[in-house]
Symmetry: C2
Subunit: 158 residues, 2 copies
């Protein structure tokens, strides 16, 4: 087993797993904040100079996992590693959000798709040269993300 | 504490933390493979239809952390959350690599920047609509990634 610790908490308007946006691009304009435990505040130095950050968090409401699952944007069973579903062998979540500003240990963010009170594991700067890649194919999800504005989460991963 | 498990192992040509590439874009053409524990193989279904994957792993050689650190591509101390340095409060690594092919529980990948025998935590599909973002600013690293072909890791994070 590998042990990690909660280093902060993510606050969002989403109190229930139903009706949540699918990914940060389905959450345009939705504001939230990250409160990092005070002892880690010195680690936030220079972060405000980035417009986007990668937030790594714990899907704390996911109990157990399915190796194959029907994603929100699809109707067929897919391998869990070919999806972003929360019920995974390791319940690690990843979202890229807009950074609005930092005040001491509070980070204001936009385009949040996490559940309220999600435990924070890590923050990394989003760096175009590291994180933007030209893909040749994007599998089952190709052409399915147009529905992001309309489709919200349901109870399938409870 | 939050517990995760090693679900596989990443094999790369890098046996030592010195002289490693900085990020997958500094590792162009370097091949490696992920061997996922057999019980998780069904979770790989449909993944081969993606050209890029997000690999989440454990920086297993990182002991302890520094809240401020001088990144490989820089000369000034930065907050650790504004860097991709391995010595972090939670030693979680993230790389986007090219997927070359999958044979049972073995995934061939390219542009690998991890240490050999790195423990795998999760794989997610890289999805342009979720993962490509137009940044307004990218802080201290702006204009510093051109050196990626030349700069390799050194011992500063030992």
């Amino acid at each position: 087993m590998i042990e990690f610790k909660q280093i902060g908490t993510i606050y969002t308007p989403f109190k229930s797993r139903e009706g949540m946006p699918i990914q940060s691009n389905g959450a345009k304009g939705v504001k939230g904040k990250i409160v990092i435990n005070k002892e880690f505040s010195p680690g936030l130095k220079d972060l405000t100079d980035f417009s986007h950050i990668i937030v790594i968090f714990y899907f704390h409401k996911s109990i157990g996992f399915d190796l194959q699952t029907v994603p929100f944007l699809d109707t067929e069973k897919r391998g869990v590693f070919a999806t972003r579903a929360p019920k995974r062998p390791n319940a690690i979540g990843l979202s890229v959000v807009k950074l609005l500003g930092i005040n001491k240990n509070v980070i204001d963010i936009e385009n949040v798709d996490m559940l309220n009170e999600t435990p924070l594991l890590d923050i990394k700067p989003y760096i175009p040269d590291f994180d933007i890649h030209k893909v040749k194919k994007s599998g089952w999800i190709e052409n399915k993300t147009k529905a992001l504005d309309k489709i919200k989460s349901d109870t399938r991963f409870k």
